[in-house]
């Protein structure tokens, strides 16, 4: 956020100050992400953006999309932080801890690029104050250029124009997107899978629920899906002792349940 404008300030029970500072504290582990009320931050941000729009600030959109990226990552981290934080007992816990660190790394990386983007912008601005000599060739030199070889008929030229003007076909990137992302993992999709599974057999341990997960992302998505289901009162948990297996009970009964009813929060794909 540029220095020229005040920027977004957060007012929470345990923190008041610029949003950037809040991120900095979380990054330095001086503030526990689980103690930050993200919902309050979001509400305040929406208020802040509305004010910007009222003032006719054109940066509102930029700042809003930036906030969304950070908030989504914070949410991911926060959810991952709710995992048992005790000793690492097996590969499965290890995988979950790594997932948490990677999410955190993703936030740091995003902030690093945001920072160098500012430096690039500054360089581009400084350089724009110099103008290169870029003049048309002096006439006597232009006259020396070899006579143009032109062998296009009007029809061939028209064909060329057709090619040039036709909207470009989507680049291969679009086609392969799903597998490039290592398979986009959708929290909603995973909620559907575990929802159906729990309706067939309840209770199930979390361990059993992720036994067939083909990647860490799927594990994280299923965990997030469970949190969502819990909030929607579709499941309940019990755990006999700390770090013991987590048993998940289906509590929605036979009533109409569909993953489509999940809150929009996790629309974004991991």
């Amino acid at each position: 956020m540029a220095e020229s404008k005040p920027g977004f300030e957060v007012r929470l029970a345990n923190f008041t100050g610029p949003f950037d500072l809040l991120l900095g504290l979380i990054a330095k582990h001086q503030l526990d992400i689980t103690e930050v009320a993200l919902a309050t931050v979001t509400d305040e941000f929406i208020k802040y953006i509305r004010n910007l729009q009222k003032l006719g600030g054109e940066w509102a959109l930029d700042e809003a999309s930036e906030f969304l990226v950070i908030a989504a990552t914070l949410l991911d981290i926060k959810a991952a932080r709710l995992l048992p934080a005790g000793e690492v007992e097996d590969d499965e816990d290890m995988a979950l801890l790594e997932a948490r660190d990677l999410l955190f790394a993703r936030l740091l990386q995003y902030k690093a690029f945001k920072h160098v983007a500012g430096l690039l912008g500054e360089s581009l601005h400084q350089e724009a104050m110099r103008f290169p000599r870029q003049v048309a060739l002096e006439e006597h030199f232009a006259a020396m250029l070899p006579e143009l070889v032109w062998k296009h008929t009007p029809e061939q030229f028209a064909a060329l124009a057709e090619t040039a003007l036709r909207p470009k076909a989507p680049k291969p990137t679009e086609v392969g997107l799903a597998h490039l992302h290592g398979g986009n993992v959708s929290v909603k999709e995973q909620a559907e899978i575990i929802g159906l599974r729990l309706q067939r057999e309840s209770p199930l341990t979390f361990r059993a629920m992720i036994a067939d997960a083909e990647s860490t992302l799927v594990v994280v998505a299923r965990f997030l899906a469970l949190l969502e289901l819990f909030r929607d009162k579709a499941v309940s948990f019990d755990q006999l002792s700390p770090l013991a297996d987590l048993a998940v009970h289906w509590t929605a009964g036979g009533r109409q349940w569909s993953a489509d009813n999940l809150s929009e929060e996790f629309e974004e794909q991991l």
Binding site: F131, P132, R133, Q134, V135, A136, L137, E138, H140, F141, A142, M144, L145, P146, E147, L148, V149, W150, H152, P154, E155, F157, A158, L160, A161, E162, T163, A164, L165, R166, P167, K168
Partner: protein
């Protein structure tokens, strides 16, 4: 030296003299990058100087570039007044009332050889496609052609203009961008009498309207 009262928004002579190299360097800075010759009046207006002052500076620069030792009346050290005794590789010429910097005529052979090195008689595919877009969508700005082609076309447009295939056609009243159209030399090479004789394109191709929306959305 008389001092003029420049308009409030103009840099003005006093401000210019505080910059490194002073008003003379400011004139030089402009001359080095302009493509079209500038008149003394244009230079004076842009710099916030009087025409007399600009005339004097131009004459001084012209002498310096040609290697005459300059003894400006208000300079103490003539030896430091600018270019010394040896002529530069460029010269300042006044052609039809406009001033521009050109490479020095003595080096015409060398420069000509350098320029011709690697020049081909054929247009590249990129140049041909750009020409096709301009021919069918003229008058059109460079930015629009870039949007259609998906790449920056600045240098290709320069080449086409240099080859006499396209030319300036005024500025877009809305955006102020320079517009381009094809020339009569282009028609000659195509063997047609007017652009109306170019073969019709398929009606399904997006016109400029579609591009315009897309382009405005990009905020370019």
């Amino acid at each position: 030296m008389t001092r003029e009262a420049p308009e409030a928004t103009q840099p003005g002579e006093e401000d210019l003299e505080n910059l490194p190299g002073g008003a003379k360097a400011a004139v030089e800075a402009v001359l080095m990058v302009i493509d079209q010759p500038a008149t003394e009046e244009e230079l004076a207006a842009g710099l916030g100087l009087t025409v007399e002052k600009v005339s004097g500076l131009l004459a001084e620069l012209q002498r310096e570039y040609s290697g005459y030792t300059v003894k400006a009346p208000d300079m103490d050290q003539a030896s430091h007044a600018g270019f010394g005794s040896s002529p530069r590789g460029f010269e300042l010429r006044n052609i039809a009332g406009g001033w521009r910097i050109y490479s020095r005529t003595d080096f015409a052979d060398i420069v000509g050889k350098y320029v011709l090195e690697g020049q081909t008689a054929r247009l590249t595919q990129a140049a041909l496609e750009t020409l096709a877009v301009i021919a069918y969508r003229q008058p059109v700005s460079r930015a629009r052609v870039s949007a259609i082609r998906g790449v920056n076309v600045d240098s290709v447009v320069r080449t086409l203009a240099q080859r006499g295939l396209i030319e300036d056609s005024g500025t877009d009243p809305e955006s102020g961008a320079m517009l381009y159209r094809t020339t009569s030399y282009f028609l000659e090479r195509m063997g047609i009498g007017s652009v109306a004789e170019l073969p019709q394109l398929s009606p399904h191709l997006p016109g400029l309207d579609g591009i315009a929306e897309y382009y405005d959305a990009e905020g370019i």
